[in-house]
């Protein structure tokens, strides 16, 4: 790697000040599983890494009255090991589990995965279907936005210069909501998603009518996608195979997959159809048993 400087500030404000002071030459460092790889290929303008991974405000998984707050610098390994996540947000744990392998999950962070903002980010679909909100901290204080507003374009988020992602909130009423995450890659271990998908939903007291259905898809559009039209179609409908099959067709039309060397857009559409069905069906099954 070409030379750069490294600094590990101990607070968010210090980090923000350092970033502001150094402009384009500075870059925040989270787990490094993407950034260090990028720097090995091409450092671009970066000559200062501001290591934010140990900043206390960005760490820890906390149960709060508003919901479950996951620090942006919590690693995927920590999420998988946290009982509260395993019990209350199994789809997030499932998403985390499909990222890289043990070693990369011990380095990689939720915040890093979101800020990198690749369409295939495996942590994103589950957060989208659980109505997660993100807290952003910057020179002028903090702000909180729904996670879907965080994703702007490929590798582009709504973070303004010198802003950092502080934490992710899973709202109280989404905790324990029946949900399912699935991923399809080119192999089982260390796979990049060709398509990933998550759903969450509840059943009304009649045990049949879909309430608050959510469907999110990854690697099928410029950003991780919440399938709004599919959700609108499902809301209030009975949870039958036919309804889910029809919903899957709508999901296919909402997605904008691309052709690349990993798979064709046509194939991705097939997988979207299948996975939309599978995550919805599985979520219904979970809803029926809980």
């Amino acid at each position: 790697m070409r030379p750069f400087d490294y600094i590990a500030p101990s607070s968010a404000q210090e980090a923000i000040a350092l970033l502001a002071e150094n402009g384009d030459s500075a870059c925040p460092l989270a787990g490094g599983t993407d950034l260090i790889v990028d720097l090995k290929h091409d450092a671009g303008t970066i000559n200062l890494l501001v290591d934010v991974s140990c900043i206390p405000e960005f760490r820890g998984i906390k149960e709060t009255p508003e919901g479950l707050r996951i620090g942006s610098m919590v690693t995927f390994g920590e999420i998988m090991a946290a009982d509260v996540c395993r019990e209350m947000t199994p789809a997030i744990v499932a998403g985390a589990h499909t990222i890289g392998a043990v070693q990369t999950r011990n380095l990689g962070t939720v915040g890093g995965n979101l800020v990198t903002c690749v369409p295939s980010a495996d942590i994103a679909p589950s957060l989208l279907v659980l109505d997660a909100r993100v807290t952003i901290t910057g020179p002028d204080g903090s702000r909180e936005i729904p996670i879907e507003e965080f994703f702007v374009g490929p590798r582009k988020t709504s973070l303004q210069p010198n802003e950092l992602l502080e934490s992710i909130l899973i709202p109280q009423d989404a905790l324990g909501k029946p949900s399912k995450f699935l991923k399809h890659g080119l192999r089982k271990g260390q796979a990049l998603a060709l398509v990933n998908a998550a759903a969450s939903l509840r059943l009304d007291t009649d045990g049949e009518t879909l309430v608050e259905p959510r469907l999110a898809l990854g690697a099928v559009a410029p950003v991780p996608l919440r399938a709004i039209e599919t959700e609108a179609f499902l809301a209030g409908k009975p949870a039958t195979d036919a309804v889910i099959a029809e919903a899957a067709e709508i999901a296919v039309t909402e997605a904008k997959p691309i052709d690349d060397f990993r798979a064709s857009a046509d194939y991705r559409r097939q997988i979207i159809r299948t996975f939309a069905k599978r995550v919805l069906t599985r979520s219904v099954e979970i809803a029926k048993t809980t």
Binding site: R2, P3, D5, I7, A8, P9, N47
Partner: protein
């Protein structure tokens, strides 16, 4: 707040000075940094190693223990005083004439000790059967993995940075990537001459056309295979050290040192007695480490600098500049009787031969001989052609063409079985070699065990009991 370590450095001059100043500063704290690592001294040997007779024992491997302890020394674990690092610049084009190479800016960089181009290699060609490959391309580049210049510098990073300073002017030539296109009359001739075919093989036994006419069924199918990389976990690595007697010692991950030394003697125009080639434990070969790669370059750079020179392939180098498995296009035509007896097989194979020959001679030979399968077939016609393309060099890889042809002959075997309603096991047993069978080259086979393996595997798998 953690202390800020230093001002950001951008000036390469300063950097080298700063780095060299820093390098020896391994200040001991409780122990010197290079204190010996604890290792087991008094371990009992495993029983199988102590028993006689030795053959048939599940003896543990002596190198296995060292692997597990992290004590095996692969090339990259070796270091010598004053050792420097080399990197190779690779072609920007799949097919182009090199007009000029200017290494002066690279040479002027602080920390760069030498550069090298193909013109400086005493005899700039190598290859196990056909010496059609330059060590560093000096005239024409024939694929993107061709090296065009090398740099030796005090650190790997400086060597990598210096590569970017080398200016190569190319005159692009029309490339051809598809082996079938490369057979065409108007295809560019990658190595000159009047054809891109550089190796061929024919095997003829009996009369296939007559037998096809007599067959109850004739099956025809084209099968194709892809380009595959060996992926040894240890990338190619070597270190060369030229001494005051004009003798060069080379530590290499090469899997064949005797012939490797011959190759080196040829390219360096040195007597073999002046070359010592030392193989270490190799971190995976699979056929991919049976060619010299950077060894002559390192030898020359060591001679130029008077320093030991090391180079380790990046994973990218490993893919683009070492050899890979030949893609095969295989047309199979097979004549079969109603009872499943195969009486004729005609096979045409086109090997995507990549930019250079490498081990294609062995691959086309084995691929052709094995192509009819382990079956008694009286009438055989195999013809195979290896064709140059402007792609990665195809060479030896675990099986020399056998995995490719096996995919074809065994896929077709099942297709025949399916069509004729014969169990796949039975049709194989019906046609398989037995002791004394005649091979496609009319060799009388001995110690044949194909039917035994079929029956034993079917038994172990539960072939007859299987329910889908």
């Amino acid at each position: 707040m953690a202390t800020r370590t230093k001002d950001v450095q951008t000036d390469a001059d300063e950097l080298v000075t700063a780095r060299e100043a820093r390098a020896p500063a391994k200040q001991p704290l409780t122990l010197p940094a290079d204190d010996p690592v604890a290792f087991p001294l008094q371990l009992p040997e495993s029983k199988a190693r102590l028993q006689t007779p030795a053959v048939g024992q599940r003896a543990t491997r002596p190198d296995g223990r060292l692997h597990g302890l992290g004590q095996t020394q692969y090339i990259d674990d070796l270091t010598f005083p004053h050792m420097i690092h080399a990197k190779v610049l690779r072609s920007e084009h799949a097919h182009a004439r090199i007009v000029s190479i200017d290494t002066s800016s690279a040479e002027a960089m602080p920390g760069v000790l030498a550069t090298l181009t193909g013109k400086e290699i005493p005899r700039n060609s190598f290859g196990p059967t056909l010496q059609d490959q330059p060590v560093l391309a000096d005239d024409v580049v024939r694929h993107r993995g061709d090296g065009v210049a090398a740099v030796a510098a005090v650190t790997e990073q400086i060597a990598a940075d210096a590569l970017e300073k080398i200016k190569v002017e190319y005159e692009p030539l029309r490339p051809v990537f598809d082996p079938l296109e490369a057979l065409g009359d108007d295809a560019p001739r990658i190595h000159g001459g009047d054809t891109n075919i550089y190796a061929s093989k024919v095997i003829k036994k009996g009369d296939v056309e007559k037998a096809f006419a007599e067959s109850d069924h004739v099956f025809e199918r084209r099968y194709q295979t892809q380009m595959v990389e060996h992926v040894p976990l240890e990338p190619h690595a070597s270190i060369a050290s030229w001494d005051g007697n004009g003798r060069v010692s080379i530590w290499s991950s090469l899997g064949r040192i005797t012939l490797g030394r011959e190759d080196l003697a040829r390219t360096l125009e040195l007597p073999q007695s002046k070359i010592r080639l030392i193989g270490t434990i190799v971190g995976g070969n699979f056929g991919g480490k049976n060619e010299i790669t950077n060894e002559p370059i390192l030898a020359m750079l060591s001679r130029k600098t008077g320093r030991p020179v090391k180079s380790v392939f990046t994973r990218g180098d490993e893919f683009v500049s070492s050899t890979i498995r030949h893609p095969f296009t295989m047309d199979y035509k097979t004549g079969v009787m109603n009872d499943g007896t195969i009486i004729a097989r005609k096979i045409r194979i086109i090997l995507d031969g990549g930019a250079y020959c490498s081990w294609t001679g062995t691959t086309i030979g084995k691929g052709s001989i094995l192509a009819p399968g382990p079956y008694n077939i009286d009438n055989i016609h195999v013809e195979a052609y290896a064709v140059y393309t402007n792609k990665t060099t195809t060479g030896a890889m675990r099986g020399f063409g056998a995995p490719q042809v096996c995919f074809a002959y065994e896929s077709q075997m099942d297709e025949i079985a399916h069509k004729l309603g014969i169990d796949p096991l039975e049709i194989r047993l019906k046609n398989a070699f037995s002791e004394g069978s005649s091979s496609p080259t009319s060799q009388t086979l001995q110690a044949v065990a194909i039917k035994e393996s079929l029956n034993q595997a079917a038994q172990r798998f539960g072939w007859k009991e299987w329910q889908a």
